[in-house]
């Protein structure tokens, strides 16, 4: 009996030693670090600049690291094994026009073969900053009162005039990329790059919407566009949105998109002049606006009318060659703003927006009532004299407490401040990793 017990103890000891050895070995590997140097490569006419922030994001857990460039545009990191995305934004001004230089290098694989002797080059490209920006995207749906699956027809976007001058929305169009979802196989990648980036266009899938009447957006003001169900949804879903507001706009043309659940007749208080109209070139009974992670952008045609652009058969592209998945080639220089939303928890997210439009991405969780909301440009906002005493701080609507969540590091509560009479300047670096965070609930629910 004693012998048997001894033998068991011996086995147990051996197993413990083996497990310890294995776990030690793994631990060593996990925490081994490697140097990673990022070099910003500027377009012709621009010189490298010191103290530009380079962000390195781990694709596994979305954790970020930042480092500043030296005078040669080089930033140094020390990382563990993993896959990283590097991005940088350099704001410049000249001749009274603001420009942003954006760049990103994705899928940098650091493994035990990594030597770190060569710089990772991030090529920056120039893009304009716009007066009209996307302030908020609410796309993932709202929890229902009976616990059934989330209500998904209260998706909406909010446009914002981020300047001190009135902005015209006459030619502004709303579009979403195709593929609609970020985590599905993306057939647009050729040799690891979006093929249309070299061709200078961005795909607008299925249809785009435009304002049927002239609209002017006053400085630092917003325009709400209900993408579906432009009615008071809160009577049934208490956590949803009440769109029965004469100030609001909606995407509604029941003759072209007639999906019953998506397009009930808008609230009678919304004037019909506030209905955006679609140019439809794809198929389907409703506009496809991803509930998992849209890549949404706004554009304004130049040199031709919205009508001409919408009906032209020569600017069409078939996604993956599929005749059923038609999209318009929107020249990148027409794009005013865009936001790339990734699906939290999916490891197959891939960028759809061109780097010039959005050099980054923001993760979102659907079905919880969260929205993607723009960060406040703290210095620009505080620089506005009228804002003195009107800004509310201690912003608490971020989702930093949730795994993968984010918040606005400016600390300014934009909605409370606006209600207090402040004028908010939002961050606009054409890099949604810096410009956006995930908010606990839609700003329209702020009372």
């Amino acid at each position: 009996m004693i012998m048997k017990t001894k033998r068991h103890l011996l086995y147990l000891g051996l197993i413990t030693i083996m497990l310890t050895a294995l776990s030690c070995e793994r631990t060593t590997d996990e925490y081994k670090t490697y140097p990673l140097t990022v070099e910003l490569v500027y377009p012709d006419g621009y010189n490298a600049k010191k103290d530009i922030t380079v962000t390195l994001t781990s694709t596994a857990d979305s954790k970020t690291m930042e480092a500043q460039t030296d005078e040669n545009g080089v930033a140094k990191f020390t990382v563990t094994v993993g896959v990283y995305d590097a991005s940088a934004t350099d704001n410049r001004t000249g001749d009274g026009v603001a420009f942003v230089l954006n760049g990103a290098e994705r899928g940098i694989i650091v493994n035990d073969q990594w030597t770190g002797t060569e710089n990772v080059k991030v090529r920056l490209s120039e893009s304009k900053l716009s007066q009209v920006i996307i302030k908020e995207v609410y796309y993932g749906g709202t929890p229902t009162d009976d616990g059934s699956r989330p209500f998904a027809y209260d998706r909406h976007v909010i446009l914002y005039n981020n300047s001190a001058l009135p902005a015209s929305l006459d030619n502004v169009c709303l579009a979403i990329t195709l593929p609609y979802n970020p985590h599905a196989t993306n057939l647009d990648y050729v040799d690891g790059k979006l093929f249309y980036e070299n061709e200078g266009w961005c795909p607008a899938g299925q249809a785009f919407w435009y304002f049927q009447n002239p609209v002017t957006l006053e400085p630092y003001s917003q325009l709400v566009i209900a993408l579906f169900n432009a009615v008071d949804n809160t009577q049934t879903y208490s956590k949803s949105i009440n769109f029965a507001n004469p100030e609001y706009y909606c995407t509604y043309d029941i003759e072209k998109f007639n999906h019953k659940a998506s397009y009930p007749s808008p609230s009678e208080v919304i004037p019909t002049s506030h209905y955006l109209k679609p140019h439809v070139y794809g198929t389907g009974t409703a506009w496809v606006f991803s509930q998992l992670g849209p890549a949404f952008f706004i554009f304004a045609p130049e040199g031709q009318s919205v009508e001409q652009f919408g009906t032209d058969a020569n600017n069409l592209d078939m996604y993956g060659g599929r005749a059923s998945q038609v999209r318009k080639k929107v020249p990148v220089k027409w794009v005013l703003d865009g936001v790339e939303i990734f699906m939290q928890g999916a490891d197959s997210n891939r960028k759809r927006l061109n780097t010039e439009i959005d050099a980054g991405y923001i993760h979102g969780i659907n079905g919880m009532g969260y929205s993607i909301y723009r960060n406040v440009d703290k210095s620009a906002t505080e620089a506005i004299k009228e804002n003195e005493g009107k800004l509310i701080y201690n912003y608490a609507m971020g989702t930093q407490d949730i795994e993968g969540g984010t918040t606005d590091s400016s600390g300014i509560d934009a909605e409370a401040s606006i209600k207090n009479g402040a004028k908010i300047v939002f961050m606009d670096t054409n890099n949604s990793s810096k410009d956006f965070h995930q908010r606990k609930e839609a700003s329209l629910r702020y009372k």
């Binding site: 008071d232 009930p264 019909t272 060659g321």
Partner: protein, 987 residues
């Protein structure tokens, strides 16, 4: 249709008189070889003369007046191994002592695979009880895996429907091969003719075999060749399932695999005083679709009773009587699934009652040998019930009316029978039922005469008639609470007329004995008359002639080919249409014509224009038919048996749906018409004129007079559908089975079986198509293109396959063990999409996917990796449907001269979805290996175990279509690693 064709009874006239020949009785007894006890009700049969009888209580039998000659005699009875021997009938014939060995693995020979034969000169596969037990049949459809080149089912549970498709592939072929396969249980035909298919009108599936109790299956005979004219309403062969008939001990069966459990009890009772035998089988089988959440399940609860007896045995004119009754209560059910939202569920019953009586009387006169009468009925109940939750922040409109015209939504409380009902906002549940109760009543009378017409020449004549009445007494789809139901229109299945089919058939078989060889010829003709009351189809006649010829050598040990045989046949078979095809449910085009803004209480008074359409009657529709030619060769070379069969199969007049487009106008009243209305929205009531569609606003207070709203006229195409006969489908195949015989030192035998299969379909009709997009001016699309071969760039397909299976069977009688290892190999799998029009290539190569014009340098659409476009031959405008405008010419002109027309016509250009669309898809070979073990423990217990894909093959296959590799895991190409165990006990 409606052509009246008079049945031309073809009977070969046997000329010449037959010299009177001496006759003798064949007498004997049948005993159990193990204990020498008499066996009652064993069948003794002389096939050449079609003379038969059964043994009495003492095991004795007598067949009187057998003409002098040498005959094959067969003796069979349930539970014993069949025996066949030669007998010289003459004055020296002695009393035959037949000893039958009880079926067991202790016998030197057992069959655990299908046995290829040519009964009645048609290629046939027989699967006996040992093979069925060894494979642990849970679903009868799985016997298909035992056919040459057959693959083990990927469907391991009973949770999804299972069908049998012979000499075809069950999915993806355009003439519904499962629907054309006849399935019979004890001669009782199962049919889905009168079932309504909700899901896909084009795909009427065949018999779902899940409700057949597999524990009661004694043997299965699969006729893939040209069957006798007795078999009608088929196009792809017949599967004959035979249940247990005869005295048996009490059997218990328990079977279990990862998802399923099966429990069965059966016994064959010998009733006292020679009152016959009553077989009983009770089975319960249950499958869950997901073992992690075992709440959604399919269950089978079956009770089978079968009474059999032979009366009037003593005077040489026996009457065989079989009465059977089978009931099954079961189906799928998710009521208790905790993963579903609370109180939601779906269930579907699979209840059936099958009953039949068959009497065969050995009349034994000079002009009549046997008279067979059968009456059977199959009643099914496939009612489904689904409870779902719903919610909406606004009121919704539910359309229920069937009338044409404009209607405005109404509250249920105001008018429950309104054309459009308002479902208020909030949360609610819907319970929807689909009551589908197909039934068949079948009556058959058949007489046959077998006689010796000359020295060594035998004739077997057969004449018969069948009548089948198929109907459906189901209510169709309906909702528990109409006030909350979504858009739905009542369509009662029971209102559709019964389909009657009366058929007459005649067949003559000649057997000529040449020395010890045998030459056989069969000629038969069947004429089906189909009558559908109150139907425009009227009386439809269809002829099915069939011919078979065969030669069988004698058996000699002193030559290389000890035995050889040849058979060939040609035949035509007609498949009757299903109710889904005959009575398609009416469709309704509901166009939203008015949608005033939603009120604060969430209510909106929508108005719709409804246009009902029923399928257009096609006077030229002909019944789908199948012509088959087959040649078979088999022989025994040494110990090796070789059987090869080749076939050519052409499905003519396949049922296809087509659309006829007609212009359709309606009035649309936009919301802008309501702006500045003098009547406050809370006081408004909307009226719409049913005919004119003009919307008027009524002041509920009566202060402001009613006034009409402005509208816009809209015109669009509306499709009306009809069935027509499509382009023939061709199949060619070769099947082989090579049994190498037993290697005695190893107690093992090797079998190789396989098939070559070639399938091609095409589309030669000129078909219309329009675009779902709008015109450049925002109006409905107004052009209609006519495309040669249809609107799809790929309108045909080609499939080629080579499958080979290797089976190693090790049978050790001394320990009552049999182990079979089967390797299923897919050696060649090829498919390609084609674009054809009357045998010529159509379409053109595009240089880039965005292009609309043919490449100037590339012509071959089948060159790798290129996009292909297709133009309509011509198009018409909704404004002038008569003027046909050549498309390409107009499109090229518009490109240079009219940008708007060009943009609009571009929508008629069809393009392939992928550049790989026309690439040939050839897969690298792949395999899967199964192992089955059966062990008998003593006389009373046997245990079987199986493991499918037991090597857990997770390899990758590469397709030449896109040069990508894909894993076999979960691919549907081979089964997943799976195992099960069955225990049988007899007392």
């Amino acid at each position: 249709m409606g052509r009246g064709i008079i049945l031309q009874v073809v009977l070969l006239v046997i000329s010449g008189s037959v010299a009177a020949q001496a006759t003798f009785p064949v007498k004997g007894s049948v005993v159990d070889a193990s204990n020498k006890q008499a066996i009652e009700l064993a069948t003794i049969w002389i096939p050449e003369l079609d003379r038969w009888t059964t043994t009495d209580k003492e095991g004795r039998f007598t067949i009187n007046n057998v003409t002098e000659g040498r005959y094959e005699v067969q003796c069979k009875v349930l539970g014993y191994r069949d025996t066949t021997f030669q007998v010289n009938v003459n004055d020296k014939l002695k009393f035959l002592d037949i000893a039958l060995s009880p079926n067991s693995l202790a016998l030197p020979e057992v069959e655990v695979t299908s046995k290829m034969g040519s009964r009645n000169l048609a290629t046939t596969y027989n699967i006996d009880q040992t093979a069925i037990q060894h494979m642990q049949l849970l679903n009868v459809a799985d016997v298909g895996s035992l056919l040459p080149g057959g693959k083990s089912s990927r469907n391991n549970t009973l949770n999804s429907a299972s069908y049998i498709a012979l000499r075809s592939k069950p999915g993806g072929e355009s003439d519904n091969p499962t629907f054309g396969t006849g399935v019979e249980v004890d001669g009782l035909r199962l049919s889905t003719n009168s079932a309504f298919s909700q899901a896909n009108a084009m795909h009427t599936y065949g018999v779902d075999t899940r409700n057949i109790a597999s524990s009661n299956v004694a043997s299965v005979e699969v006729i893939t060749g040209i069957p006798s004219v007795e078999y009608g309403d088929i196009s792809n062969g017949v599967v004959k399932i035979n249940t247990f008939q005869g005295k048996t001990p009490l059997h218990f069966l328990f079977s279990s695999n990862i998802n399923s459990k099966q429990l069965a009890v059966s016994k064959g009772f010998a009733l006292r005083e020679q009152l016959g035998i009553l077989n009983m089988n009770i089975e319960r089988a249950k499958s869950v679709s997901d073992i992690a959440s075992p709440y959604t399940s399919y269950s089978r609860n079956s009770l089978s009773l079968k009474y059999s007896n032979t009366l009037n045995r003593e005077n040489g004119r026996p009457l065989s009587l079989v009465v059977s009754l089978t009931g099954n209560v079961g189906g799928s059910n998710s009521v208790n699934d905790p993963d579903a939202f609370r109180d939601t569920y779906s269930k579907r019953s699979d209840n059936t009652l099958r009953g039949g009586i068959q009497a065969t009387w050995r009349v034994n006169t000079a002009w009549l040998s046997n008279l067979t009468f059968s009456l059977s009925t199959v009643l099914s109940n496939n009612t489904s019930e689904q409870k779902t939750n719903a919610s909406s922040p606004v009121s919704t409109a539910s359309l229920h009316g069937k009338e044409e015209g404009y209607f405005v939504a109404t509250h249920y409380a105001e008018n429950p029978n309104a054309h459009i009902l308002i479902v208020p906002r909030g949360y609610w549940y819907n319970t929807v039922y689909e009551e589908n109760r197909p039934s068949d009543l079948r009556l058959e009378l058949k007489v046959d005469l077998t006689k010796k017409v000359a020295n060594r020449v035998y004739s077997k004549s057969k004449v018969g008639t069948q009548h089948v009445a198929s109907g459906n007494s189901g209510r169709g789809i309906y909702y528990k609470d109409l006030s909350l139901a979504p858009t739905w229109r009542e369509f009662r299945y029971s209102d559709e007329p019964v389909m009657h089919n009366t058929s007459f058939f005649a067949e003559e078989k000649l057997i000529v004995m040449i020395h010890s060889h045998k030459l056989e010829m069969i000629a038969g003709l069947r004429n089906d008359f189909t009558y559908i009351a109150k139907s425009e189809y009227g009386l439809i006649s269809s002829l099915s002639p069939r011919f078979n010829i065969g030669f069988q050598s004698d058996y000699r040990n002193d030559r290389l080919f000890r035995r050889y045989s040849l058979h060939a046949g040609w035949g035509k078979m007609v498949k009757l249409p299903s109710f889904t095809i005959l009575y398609p449910r009416p469709s309704y085009t509901d166009e939203l014509t008015f949608a005033p803004g939603t009120l604060a209480d969430g209510t909106t008074f929508y108005a719709y224009h409804t246009m009902p359409s029923r399928l257009i009657y096609n006077s030229g529709l002909r019944w789908q038919e199948n012509q088959q030619l087959e040649v078979g060769v088999s022989g025994t070379m040494g110990k090796t048996n070789i059987s090869v069969s080749a076939f050519y199969n052409k499905t003519g007049n396949p049922y296809m749906q087509n659309a006829e487009y007609v212009p359709f106008s309606y009035k649309f009243t936009g919301q802008t018409a309501l702006e500045n209305s003098p009547i406050p929205s809370a006081n408004r009531r909307y009226q719409v004129d049913q005919e004119s569609g003009i919307v008027s606003v009524v002041d509920r207070t009566g202060i402001i007079p009613t006034y009409p709203l402005d509208y816009k006229e809209r015109t669009r195409f509306k499709g009306n559908y009809y069935y027509e006969n499509g382009t023939p489908i061709h199949r060619v195949g070769l099947e082989w089975v090579i049994d190498f015989g037993k290697i005695k030192p190893l107690n093992s035998s090797i079998r190789v079986d396989g098939n070559l299969y070639h399938y091609k379909n095409s589309e030669d009709r000129m078909l219309p198509g329009t675009s779902g997009n709008r015109m450049s001016d925002g109006n409905h699309y107004k052009y209609l293109g006519f495309y040669p071969g249809g609107t799809s760039v790929s309108n045909a397909s080609l499939t080629k396959e080579c499958n080979t299976n290797l089976t190693l069977v090790t049978h050790i009688p001394s320990v009552r063990l049999v182990v079979s290892l089967r390797v299923e190999c897919s050696l060649y799998s090829y498919s390609q999409r084609l674009s054809e029009w009357h045998g010529e290539r159509r379409g053109f190569v595009l240089n880039a996917k965005e292009d609309y014009f043919p490449s100037a340098t590339k012509w071959d659409i089948y060159e790798r990796d290129q996009f292909v476009g297709l133009y309509p031959d011509y198009y018409v405008s909704i404004d002038d449907m008569q003027t046909k405008i050549p498309f390409e010419e107009a499109f090229r002109w518009a490109k240079e001269n009219d940008q708007v027309l060009y943009n609009d016509l571009a929508r008629l250009v069809k393009k392939s979805n992928y550049k790989s669309t026309f690439n040939p898809a050839r897969l690298t070979p792949f395999y899967s290996a199964n192992i089955n073990v059966t062990k008998e423990i003593g006389e009373n217990v046997s245990i079987s175990f199986y493991a499918k894909n037991f090597l857990n093959n997770l390899a990758q296959v590469k397709s030449t279509e896109n040069n990508r590799k894909q894993t076999l895991y979960n691919s549907g190409r081979i089964p997943a690693f799976y195992y099960g165990l069955t225990c049988r006990v007899k007392i």
